[in-house]
């Protein structure tokens, strides 16, 4: 837990005099503090990006890509993974105490933008004594932060790695987010967001929100391959009237329930809105080329063929804007049938591209340090 005692002025105008961030780090910061990578998590991510904690059923959410000899090699990089404000894994957010009221923030937590996460990460950076990130890396909403960093603090990062992301959400994306929010708000236990003070949890709404989201993170092919029409219980024999449950039903219900145990409903509403509000070039006359002219770092953009939540076309638009702005950029479109979730899952080519790019970054750092 890191105490950030500097005040942070949020995009909405509210000032948080101080805030706390849960942070995990992996690897060792080198002598000239130049080998740090900032990991930006997405909607439901936490600071626990890699390795195992006691009692974990699964390792950190990006464990496939962070570790010794992995794409983000902890033998070469110092990896900083904060849980961002407004989330619910211990950092200041709807579930923590509002100093002004001594009650949980709940629905009163100020609305956030991706830039607020970036500003908070910037304060963390100063706290850690890092002046320039070797890379800022993120998938989905994380990629949005990595792009925002390149525009707001161009001199404070050398590389921006933008994975399965977009410069803004589509109407369809916003629609799915609104369905999820409505599901939560429809739960009688939601109590206009003041459920914590009343010892209630809108588990049903949050589970439903997650189930909707989860379907959009998978692809039709991936679901067909993993579950098909296999049954969990019951059968279709004539004369059988026992209940029938498809495997996909029990899987989705399990995922929804698990999520409802781990995540906070107000945080879900807050962060999905943050996603909806993000528009990279809004203050650059809606011209992404003009926006990226403010950047100076190198970019690696990665997308996945079956991702329909953040389709490859969105990443191509990022790449085109970067080329138009004359920035250094490489783009890879990874063949995968895993949908949006592909950015978290093992994939040989993805590992090669991300690992190859960052290995080059490490080579250059080590050459300049030597």
């Amino acid at each position: 837990m890191v105490d950030i005692s500097e005040p942070i002025k949020l995009a909405c105008g509210v000032v948080l005099d101080e805030h706390q961030l849960m942070v995990e780090t992996y690897g060792t910061l080198n002598a000239d503090r130049s080998n740090a990578i900032l990991i930006c998590h997405a909607l439901s991510g936490s600071h626990h990006a890699a390795g195992w904690h006691d009692g974990d059923r699964k390792p950190g959410w990006w464990d496939h890509y962070i570790g010794p000899d992995k794409a983000m090699d902890t033998q070469r990089f110092f990896i900083v993974s904060p849980n961002n404000i407004g989330s619910c894994f211990g950092s200041t957010g709807p579930t923590t105490i509002n100093p002004a009221t001594q009650h949980p923030w709940g629905p009163d937590f100020p609305p956030l933008r991706a830039r607020d996460w970036m500003e908070s990460q910037h304060l963390l950076m100063q706290h850690l004594g890092i002046t320039c990130w070797a890379a800022v890396v993120g998938g989905s909403l994380g990629g949005m932060q990595a792009m925002r960093w390149s525009l707001e603090y161009p001199e404070k990062l050398l590389n921006s790695v933008v994975i399965a992301s977009a410069m803004k959400l589509s109407a369809q994306n916003i629609a799915f987010n609104e369905i999820a929010r409505r599901a939560i708000k429809s739960d009688p236990d939601y109590l206009a967001g003041r459920y914590l003070e009343n010892d209630r949890v809108p588990r049903r709404g949050l589970a439903l929100a997650r189930m909707i989201g989860h379907v959009t993170y998978l692809s039709d092919v991936a679901m067909a391959e993993k579950f098909g029409r296999e049954l969990n219980i019951g059968n279709f024999s004539v004369g059988e009237k026992d209940p029938i449950e498809f495997q996909i039903e029990s899987y989705l219900n399990y995922q929804g329930d698990k999520f409802a145990d781990d995540f906070d409903a107000n945080a879900y509403i807050l962060i999905t809105k943050m996603l909806d509000y993000f528009d990279l070039s809004r203050e650059y006359q809606n011209d992404p080329v003009a926006a990226f002219k403010h950047a100076s770092c190198n970019f690696m953009v990665i997308s996945f063929t079956s991702d329909w939540r953040f389709p490859a076309q969105r990443s191509r638009e990022i790449t085109d804007a970067l080329v138009g702005a004359g920035r250094n950029v490489s783009y890879a479109e990874i063949q995968s049938d895993q949908g949006h979730d592909a950015f978290l899952l093992p994939n040989t080519r993805y590992e090669k591209v991300l690992g190859g790019y960052l290995s080059r970054v490490a080579d250059q750092l080590e050459a300049s340090t030597a």
Binding site: M300, R316, T319, D320, V323, G324, G326, N328, V329, S330, Y331, A332, E333, R349, K352, V353, G356, Y357, S359, R360, Q364
Partner: protein, 196 residues
């Protein structure tokens, strides 16, 4: 440095914006960055080549030229290059048009199918030529259009493409002497510097 690199190098200014279509392992881009300090991008679809470019720190974009170049605006580049790949394109004439739309100039290199050796393979032996430039068997080749130096000249004329420079490259001594007189017969690789 190969002869075609020397020619291409001559036609590229200092610090210009270059797009290399089908950039392979990025060796031409790397060469032009070193000698001409260009701002260069390569398009490629082969995963291994893309990985090689990324490892070299080159700008490489995964995009199939056959699917169009409409994502690039008019005159987005000072120079658009395509080496030894026009014969692989589905519609070479449309690719050429697109190259001249997105680049102020373009540079094309291609194997001349009118060279006497390929002609003799086909004319005397009655077999599809397999040469250093066209090193594939007919049943397993990415090369789907065979054309000659003269064919290309005719296409440029027909589509009002201005030929700024042309250079013929051959390895053999005799070829090198005679290519000036009969370029269509003695050129192995043709290099064109074009504009609208």
């Amino acid at each position: 440095m190969t002869t075609d690199y020397i020619a291409i190098n001559h036609w590229i200014g200092q610090g210009v914006r270059v797009l290399d279509l089908g950039c392979g392992d990025g060796s031409l881009l790397a060469h032009l960055i070193e000698t001409r300090n260009i701002c260069g991008y390569g398009l490629e679809i082969d995963p291994t080549s893309i990985h090689t470019c990324i490892s070299k720190g080159l700008n490489v974009i995964e995009q199939d030229v056959n699917s169009g170049l409409h994502n690039f605006s008019d005159n987005a580049f000072d120079s658009v290059i395509m080496t030894q790949a026009l014969q692989v394109m589905r519609y070479p004439h449309l690719v050429l048009d697109e190259m001249l739309r997105i680049g102020r100039e373009c540079i094309i290199t291609f194997p001349n199918f009118g060279h006497w050796r390929t002609r003799s393979d086909l004319g005397f032996r009655g077999r599809m030529p397999v040469t250093e430039q066209l090193a594939y068997q007919w049943y397993d080749t990415p090369n789907i259009h065979f054309f000659t130096y003269s064919d290309f000249e005719a296409l440029c004329c027909q589509r009002n493409i201005r030929i700024l420079h042309r250079q013929c490259i051959s390895q053999g001594v005799i070829d090198r002497c005679l290519k000036k007189v009969w370029p269509n017969l003695f050129t192995e690789t043709a290099i064109y510097h074009l504009s609208r």
